[in-house]
């Protein structure tokens, strides 16, 4: 499924777009009061693929997710979903075009139960799509799929973080996204649970879902990703297959080679 490496690196400064992209950000920059969180970032994620986005703490990964979902207005640059420029759309309209995400800093519906969290998302989808599968059916199936059946009736604010992240995943899936943004969804999970999560992601791409994955677990990233973008200090410093990225000297210097403690370690 992986394409040749030359295709990944878009020529800098042009508006040419990746024709296979479900989502593409073009020359996006974000400044927070003078601090550049992102600088001219160009990235795409493709249908049926898992695209990794890695980088040290503070590299700008979450900020990029916020830009894609519309929660953060970029200082400069555009966001495309397929062949449609969505830069001016509010978050809820982007979601209705098939994008869903999880949050690194949890944004669960704490006063609802696990089942209700997923059910609510399924009901949201019903209200804006013309899919009329009963929301309860969708929710029940997803709860099973992400492995939350045993805690389905527990209030989410009483769950350990690892499980709450799975609730966010289930909630995102309930909107049947074409593009799924996962922000460190695996942290807080045990080794076996992470394995299962990896399998679930691969499984999701079989229906054509595009996944953009932010993850500090290098092993998981290398195992499931088709392509990887490496972000450092707000700039893309490398792009390629897992093998290519692993060998890249710039990446080794900036990220993989550096001792995690010196960059603050995975969070």
């Amino acid at each position: 499924m992986s394409a040749p490496a030359t295709e990944f690196a878009a020529p800098a400064g042009t508006e040419r777009r990746d024709p296979h992209a479900v989502v593409e950000v073009v020359d996006v920059s974000v400044n927070f009061g003078g601090i550049a969180a992102l600088t001219d970032v160009r990235l795409s994620a493709r249908e049926g693929q898992i695209t990794g986005l890695i980088g040290p703490n503070g590299a700008g990964k979450t900020t990029l997710f916020n830009v894609i979902t519309g929660l953060q207005e970029p200082t400069h640059g555009r966001v495309w979903f397929g062949d449609r420029d969505v830069s001016g759309l509010p978050p809820y309209k982007r979601a209705r075009r098939g994008v869903a995400r999880t949050f690194q800093r949890l944004e669960v519906f704490g006063s609802l139960t696990v089942f209700e969290n997923v059910l609510a998302a399924a009901e949201f989808r019903r209200s804006w799509s013309n899919d009329d599968t009963p929301a309860r059916t969708v929710a029940a199936e997803i709860i099973r799929r992400v492995g939350l059946s045993v805690v389905a009736d527990a209030r989410v604010d009483s769950l350990p973080t690892g499980l709450a992240r799975l609730v966010e995943l289930g909630r995102a899936l309930a909107t049947r996204p074409r593009l799924l943004l996962l922000d460190e969804v695996g942290s807080g999970l045990s080794h076996e649970e992470t394995e299962a999560l990896g399998d679930l992601m691969v499984d999701l791409t079989r229906d054509g879902t595009a996944i953009l994955l932010v993850e500090h677990d290098v092993e998981l990233v290398m195992r499931v990703c088709d392509r990887i973008f490496v972000l450092d200090f707000g700039r893309i410093i490398a792009t390629g297959t897992p093998a290519q990225v692993q060998k890249d000297p710039a990446v080794q210097a900036a990220y993989l080679g550096a001792a995690p403690e010196s960059r603050g370690g995975p969070s």
Binding site: L71, A95, V108, P160, S187
Partner: protein, 647 residues
């Protein structure tokens, strides 16, 4: 020219007082992060205390001034810091709101007990109102003192904040109290200092203001609220900007009153600060979407359909039974309780579930009463009821449009400004000074509502039906959506929810409920006036909902009835407690701290009882992993399902 100059002088003096008020607010907000709603009440008590020493006990004015401004006010500041404000460090905005609003009510109540409002008191200007004629204009020494004091305080604060170590530390506290503590600073000391300072300045502002306005408890408290607009112009941080805003508001107010001829335009002068406050709030950039919740605590479980139906039936049957033994006034007191409970129920929906604060519910009630009176006519036609609901809903919708993006403190301030505008300009205009409006009881074909007893039963039915409806709404898909929007607006937006539309619908629905409450409220005494819907009462409603419990129907009923039955208890209470504002204030800062309130405690007690009796629940352990590597979590199991977890 003479007119222009004299209004410039008065406007400048008013501006100075507003500037003093804004300064005090900004100081405490910046050092403690708490917006002190009670600031105006502190100024009012300062003015009364000064009157007491000077006029009441015959102290010389300078000595009385020193006593109040430099001794009593700082002591009071120390006292509230220790008792109320220190425990609020790091607390969510809603709690700081409840506590400072509670303090406001407490001080109003206290002042009403000490200085009986029916007695007229007069606080003379300094130097007997003497002054000097400059050109055409008489400038009183009182005015000179006011301006000089403001300038002196502004300069002193500037020096304090920019040159002294303590002042620089004060500026740093709000930004990072922990950092300052590590660096050897003493946040507690500095917070004490800032509460002392702001109480002093507030007292001085009150003393300067009272002779210009009038020594009146509610008037002074609300006038001082006008200074809040200036503080907001300075975005609660920028003192020079706040002072400039204060001057602009003061001048604008008096130019309008000077040049306007029409009566209604003159009335506008009182609401200018509120309109400015409202406008600035709308223009202020708001935070990006993020989690923000008013209640913040684990809410009791929502009653099921069967339980709420039984509860409603018991309530109505109980009311019928009790009503047979009640006299006329008591029947009306109870009916009033249900009307108030309906208002609180609208807050259950808006604030308890939706996390939006409103301090203007009584304004919607007022609109409902007026519409019922005007459209319903003497016969109390049902069209009036529809008009009441429609008018209130429309007003709620229009208010919600610009305020949707606001949260917490800003929404509270904006709704309060709205209530104050209606209180001081719109309702007074509609009723005319001292006027009132008759409101007939709704005439439902085939059902008698004329007698007090029948009307009470009707009120209980309306409340029970509304409560059952609200609970059903909460359990349904829309209710889930509302709770979800409250828990995480950001997540909802990324799941395709138009967050603003959801809020708009709920705000409108909540206002509509208040409109219906207005029909009942008017029907109790069959006549309403401007005082029935004072802005302060909206504040009381919010606190009552919080005291009773803002997320259970039983809670709001409790909150409403403790207040409504107050006149019945009154004769049995000791004098020093015989004021409903005072008691509400005390209850707010004590019971109101817990968002689940009394109702929540009852629900908790019931839960405990079930556990003690070992009813259908047991603890089970489920293997899960979490961040810190613990491998099991404990869950409560109920009828074979896991319902809550601890780890």
């Amino acid at each position: 020219m003479a007119i222009f100059l004299s209004f410039t002088v008065i406007g400048l003096v008013a501006g100075c007082v507003y500037a003093l008020i804004a300064t005090g607010l900004v100081v405490t907000y910046n050092t403690t992060g708490i917006f002190n709603f009670a600031h105006g009440a502190i100024a009012m008590v300062g003015a009364y205390a000064f009157w007491q020493f000077w006029q009441g006990w015959g102290w010389p004015a300078p000595l009385a001034l020193v006593m109040v401004v430099l001794v009593l006010a700082p002591l009071f500041g120390l006292f509230i810091e220790r008792l109320l404000m220190r425990p609020l460090r790091g607390a969510p905005v809603d709690l700081t709101l409840v506590v400072t609003l509670g303090l406001l009510l407490f001080l109003v109540g206290l002042a009403q007990i000490i200085w009986d409002p029916s007695e007229v008191r007069n606080l003379p200007s300094f130097f007997n109102g003497d002054g000097k004629r400059i050109g055409y204009v008489l400038v009183t020494y009182h005015e000179v003192v006011a301006v000089a004091a403001t300038v002196a305080i502004a300069i002193a604060l500037r020096l304090l904040f920019n040159t002294t170590r303590t002042g620089i530390a004060m500026r740093a506290v709000v930004d990072n109290a922990d950092l300052l503590a590590m660096a050897g600073g003493r946040p507690i000391r500095i917070q004490q200092l800032s509460w002392m300072l702001s109480s002093s300045i507030a007292a001085l502002a009150g003393i300067l203001l009272a002779p210009i306005a009038r020594l009146d408890i509610l008037l002074l408290t609300l006038l001082v609220v006008d200074g809040y607009a200036a503080a907001i112009i300075g975005r609660l941080r920028n003192l020079p900007l706040a002072v400039a805003g204060a001057m602009a508001i003061g001048l604008g107010q008096f130019y309008i009153s000077g040049y306007a001829n029409a009566d209604w335009v003159k009335r506008v002068q009182y609401v200018i600060p509120m309109v400015v406050l409202f406008a600035v709030l709308i223009l202020l950039p708001q935070d990006r979407l993020r989690t923000a919740s008013f209640t913040g605590a684990v809410a009791p479980r929502v009653a099921g359909l069967k339980a709420s139906l039984v509860w409603g039936l018991v309530l109505v049957a109980g009311t019928m039974l009790v009503s047979t033994g009640l006299s006329g006034p008591n029947l009306r007191t109870a009916a009033n309780g249900f009307a108030l409970a309906l208002v609180l129920l609208s807050l259950l929906l808006l604030t308890g579930y939706g996390g939006m604060v409103s301090i203007c519910q009584l304004t919607f009630v007022g609109l409902g009463s007026i519409a019922m009176g005007k459209v319903g006519g003497d016969g109390g036609s049902l069209l009036g009821v529809l008009a009441a609901i429609g008018l209130a809903a429309g007003a709620g919708f229009l208010l919600a449009l610009p305020t949707l993006k606001m949260r917490g403190l800003y929404l509270a301030l904006a709704t309060f400004a709205f209530a104050a505008v209606f209180d001081q300009a719109v309702f007074t205009q509609i009723f005319g000074t001292g006027g009132n409006q008759t409101v007939a009881r709704p005439n439902i074909p085939g059902i008698p509502t004329g007698s007090d007893q029948a009307f009470l039963v009707l009120c209980s039915v309306v409340f029970a039906a509304a409560a059952i409806g609200v609970l059903a709404f909460r359990r349904g898909s829309l209710g889930r959506r509302l709770v979800a929007v409250n828990d995480s607006p950001a997540a909802c937006a990324t799941l395709g929810v138009n967050v603003n539309r959801t809020k708009l619908v709920v705000f409108t629905a909540s206002a509509a409920m208040c409109g219906l409450a207005g029909v009942l409220y008017g029907g109790v005494t069959k006549q309403v006036d401007a005082n029935s819907f004072a802005a302060l009462l909206s504040l009381v409603a919010l606190l009552l909902a919080r005291i009773g419990g803002i997320n259970t129907a039983t809670g709001v009923l409790l909150g409403a009835f403790t207040f409504a039955l107050f006149p019945t208890f009154l004769p049995h209470l000791p004098d020093f407690l015989s004021n409903q504002f005072l008691l509400t204030g005390i209850a707010a800062v004590s019971v109101g701290r817990d968002p689940n309130g009394l109702g929540g405690r009852i629900a908790q007690g019931a839960e405990k009882l079930r556990e003690l009796l070992g009813l259908d629940r047991k603890l089970v352990s489920v293997p899960v992993s979490s961040d810190d590597g613990t491998a099991a979590a404990v869950f409560l199991e109920e009828e074979g399902r896991l319902v809550s977890a601890g780890h």
